[in-house]
Symmetry: C2
Subunit: 332 residues, 2 copies
Amino acid sequence: MKRASIKDIAKLAGVSVATVSYVLNKKEGSRIGEATREKILEIAETINYIPNKMARGLKTSKSKLIGLIVADISNDFYSGMARCIEDEAMKLGYTLLIGSSDENPSKFKKLTELFSEQQVDGMIIAPVMDSDETVQKLVNDQFPVVTVDRYLKDTEVAGVRINNDEVSKQVCSFLAGKKFKDIAYVGYDTRLPHLLDRQQGFEQQSTKNGVELQEILVGLDNIAGEVHQGLDRYFQNSSNRKAVYFSSNKLAVAGLGYFIKNNISVPEDVSVIAFDETDAYSLFPVEIDYIQQPLNEMAKAAVQLLDEQIGGQSLQQSMIFQARLIHKKSVR
Amino acid sequence: MKRASIKDIAKLAGVSVATVSYVLNKKEGSRIGEATREKILEIAETINYIPNKMARGLKTSKSKLIGLIVADISNDFYSGMARCIEDEAMKLGYTLLIGSSDENPSKFKKLTELFSEQQVDGMIIAPVMDSDETVQKLVNDQFPVVTVDRYLKDTEVAGVRINNDEVSKQVCSFLAGKKFKDIAYVGYDTRLPHLLDRQQGFEQQSTKNGVELQEILVGLDNIAGEVHQGLDRYFQNSSNRKAVYFSSNKLAVAGLGYFIKNNISVPEDVSVIAFDETDAYSLFPVEIDYIQQPLNEMAKAAVQLLDEQIGGQSLQQSMIFQARLIHKKSVR
DNA sequence: CTGAAAGCGCTTACAG
DNA sequence: CTGAAAGCGCTTACAG
């Protein structure tokens, strides 16, 4: 069944399509007589008129679509973030396109192209390694983009993220204050700047505080396996009181699994601090101390920043939010 | 910077837009001379031409967009499903719009309207309670729709789901075989058909097997609290060996949290079977027996069914997949 | 207060 | 093998 168009309404109401368009868009400028206004509205209602945003977009160059590219929408962190972004986007009248890059630069690039073809008004992206060129191209084209969570070293682009290095320093100081002299940092073997910040912040502070640092850096293919191996080494090498800082929720889940498997008690045998929340923590015998990102505020800021760019203000602003260490019971 | 259009290419190549359109679409019908073909392709490349799917869609009535409506994209189950659907959709050249209904029929309706306005070619939906009318309307309009996970009682619409009642019966029989005489079913207080199936299947089989059934049915506002209360009652009332069947992963997480908090050992003090997987299980001291849905196959089927409808075959087919009970170590 | 007309970027019969 | 032309469903100056 073909959908009703503005033309159908015009015919039924005995007016021009222009008139219909004006009343449907509630333009104040050119007043339409109250009688015809009501008539048009009524007809639109009864024939169940649905405006065609595509046609509208073709004319106005505004699709009211925005694209979100995350590493993997099935990952807790990103689905939580996506949800916040969805809500904010809806509030501003946008509908959300979502794609997962799988940390793959060519898939990432493909997604930006796909979204471009679909005429999204802008994109919120979590750029992957080696996607700098792809993002730079968007920026060069003056295309509205804002990065979330992650950021790019040498590309001038609006973004929102947290104080990764700072918060890692706080963690380190906090543990140093608890007299830990020998701490394990579990992270990814990566060049992603925001993760390097987490790592380097921790490294710097540990030097300052005179704590020995054992780094366990894993790839993406066998996270649990490599985390387990790394923790094996840490537990063999270290004779001091032990503390582990996991720089992502996935790593934390892997590590906590290791503790369960090996009957290592938290915090008796090892103190733990994790990055990001996940439901999974709730099933661990002990409540886990973790770094909390202000997801809602970040999502709101990201959408707002994007909306401003779409609105023509091409500010390449970066917003840095404060993540907080939430104290529970996994550190003693 | 204005984007390059087919017209720009035509001008640069000294041919008509029609010719450009033909070569860009690789139509076999009307051959274009190899020389002009190459010239056009080259120009398109160098000016970085990006086709405007909106304009194309306006003409062809195909947006290559599909909408996915879930209850909440931040929920593990749905984000996992979304990921599978995304992959399948991409394979067929579709881009995915995502919206969360929050179990709210008016929000659900709004989302279908929004997606309609955006001219999606079809929708994959997990309908909420009291959304029957909204879905029926889409079906009446011959709009391509397929339901996933959930389904509707009195609406003829294509869908894919699992054998909810059967699998519950299997669970019940399995537990009865282990000589449990007094089992708790933890579910939602709901009218959603697929959840009622889970519940009623269990009820029927428990009658057949002569096991006593204690039902703990909770609302959405205070899941953990109500689950805890319900389990309190079960543990007070029952003097037999205990077994609990959780009909969703959220319920299971709430219940397992209760066991931890109260020092109740699984499977020593209580046997447990859960519905659906979640990372969280991995941090529980014992591996949990759970019902596994073939998410990948279901996603593939859903997208395929939708694609067929979009392609003009308006088959209202329902596909029912077999969920499986995965045995781990939480039942003794 | 209202309408005729151009045009957004495409596709696609049709004609040559 | 290629082009002129109509049209998808809208919006928006412009004219009246």
